[in-house]
């Protein structure tokens, strides 16, 4: 059997809106991926540990609270500290344009704002694994 792409979708921080996260989860499922959805209000440690246990290829983070510049780099660092060096990280939610470049520097490979076509996210993830598939 061909290896399935496994994706963890998580919501770090304290905001309680997970509609976007659920839409992405559904879209990735429809694209044939296995999506582990962890629910609301996850700490960076919880997210990194879940990614480790589930042996995912990709971590998608949905954040609307404005704390992305603190939380997202911390999650990337924790993933790397746990030895998940090749796990790709992308983010969605309310992220101002000027923060996108610094986040990419910090290891968040893709940043998707409101109104992003879900196909675009699917393509982005598939692109990352073109060689592996």
């Amino acid at each position: 059997m061909a290896k399935k792409i496994r994706v963890l979708i998580a919501k770090p921080g304290l905001d309680g809106h997970d509609r976007g996260a659920k839409i992405i989860a559904r879209a990735l499922r429809d694209a044939g991926m296995e999506v582990i959805y962890t629910g609301l209000r996850q700490t960076p440690e919880m997210i990194a540990e879940a990614a480790l246990q589930e042996d995912v290829d990709v971590v998608g983070l949905s954040i609307l609270s404005g704390a992305h510049m603190t939380l997202l780099p911390r999650i990337v660092t924790m993933l790397r500290d746990k030895g998940l060096t090749d796990v790709r990280v992308f983010a969605g939610g309310i992220i101002p344009d000027e923060d996108v470049e610094p986040l990419k520097q910090a290891g968040v490979t893709g940043v998707f704002g409101p109104g992003t076509n879900t196909d675009h996210v699917v393509e982005f993830i598939r692109d990352q694994f073109k060689d592996a598939q």
Binding site: D30, G32, M33, I36, E45, A50, Q53, E54, D55
Partner: protein, 353 residues
């Protein structure tokens, strides 16, 4: 691969997760891993939790795990959710209800998609359980997909099967249908604070009585000893107004009667009784011949499945896809029937082998 297995079994969680993926993805890689892992299995107690969607399985799993952790036992959890038959993808959401366990190094949770299996588990669930067993987890809890009536694979994977019901999901006719209720070692009526909980308990109770009439007799307020056809003695107590069979009463007989327990998992209520019943069932399997019979049946089914898979793979590899496509074409055009086609394919494979 050997190095990965060594690290995984030595307690490295990252390696354990990767080993589980290898095993989950199947193929020769996974077989060689499992043959190394197998001698180190057999120590964990394996508990299966099944029941209809929405009965509160995940929350119950989480609460059960918490109590075992309080006893300083380590817990592995395998939570299975369905794969979409159309896209092959899946959304695995059982972790949402298990957030209380996050951050506990004595717990390892793994979500699995069924990947086409229909029995309530993934094909590789049993193998993943073996890996967790060998890695030293004391208790392994398997949560099946939201199962209806015939998803009973869990019965050949777990030592103790808990079937979770909730009030208002079905009437008495549901309770006497064949299938999932028959595999229960313990019945849990969760959401017991809801209306109708007692009537669900009553319906289950009636079902168990119906199913065991040959072995026992119930009488108001009396403890009765009855000789069943096989000559084994079975005792059972029933009291007016107390319709729930307790785990203790179950244990007092030579054969196991599934206790019916009420829980409110979201508040952690009644879980201690579930843990107690699991312990008693475990003791029963140790004391009674049924324990060994179960293990034997489990190994027998497992060997049959692996043998079938292995033979099929070898046959398909020997034939090549062309021969099979040709057979499909012939059957579609009704030139031959499927049974003759299979005979011809088998004959062709034997000639080549």
């Amino acid at each position: 691969m050997a190095a990965l297995i060594d690290r995984a079994l030595a307690g490295d969680r990252r390696s354990l997760a990767r080993l589980i993926s290898r095993v989950e993805n199947g193929g020769p890689d996974s077989w060689s891993a499992l043959s190394i892992v197998y001698p180190r299995t057999g120590r964990a107690r394996i508990i299966g939790i099944t029941g209809s969607p929405g009965t509160g399985k995940s929350t119950l799993v989480s609460e059960i795990a918490k109590l075992y952790r309080a006893e300083k036992l380590t817990v592995g959890i395998v939570a299975v959710d369905p794969t979409s038959p159309f896209s092959g993808g899946a959304v695995l959401g059982d972790r949402i209800r298990m957030r209380d366990l996050a951050g506990d190094a004595g717990v390892f949770i793994r979500s699995m998609a069924t990947r086409g299996s229909l029995g309530g588990l993934a094909r590789a669930t049993t193998d993943v359980v073996k890996v967790l067993d060998a890695a030293g987890y004391d208790v392994i809890v398997i949560e099946t997909v939201g199962a209806g009536q015939s998803e009973i694979d869990i019965a050949r994977t777990a030592d103790t099967v808990i079937v979770v019901e909730a009030p208002g999901l079905g009437d008495e006719v549901q309770a006497i249908k064949a299938g999932i209720l028959e595999i229960a070692d313990i019945l849990v009526v969760n959401k017991a604070d809801r209306d109708g909980a007692q009537s669900t308990v009553n319906a289950l109770h009636a079902m168990i009585d119906l199913g065991t009439t040959h072995n026992r007799t119930l009488h108001h307020g009396a403890l009765m000893e009855v000789n069943s056809a096989s000559g084994s003695r079975a005792r059972h107590t029933a009291r007016d107004g107390m319709r729930t069979v307790t785990a203790e009463q179950s244990q007092n007989s030579d054969r196991w009667y599934p206790p019916i327990l009420m829980t409110i998992a979201t508040e952690g209520k009644g879980i201690d009784k579930v843990i107690e019943a699991i312990g008693q069932h475990r003791q029963y399997l140790i004391d009674q011949p049924e324990g060994q019979q179960r293990v034997r049946a489990r190994v027998s089914i497992e060997l049959e499945l692996i043998l079938g898979e292995s033979l099929l793979n070898r046959l398909l590899a020997g034939l090549g896809s062309q021969a099979i496509d040709h057979a499909i074409d012939q059957v579609m055009k009704r030139e031959i029937d499927p049974y003759t086609a299979v005979e011809q394919l088998q004959a062709a494979a034997q000639v080549r082998a």
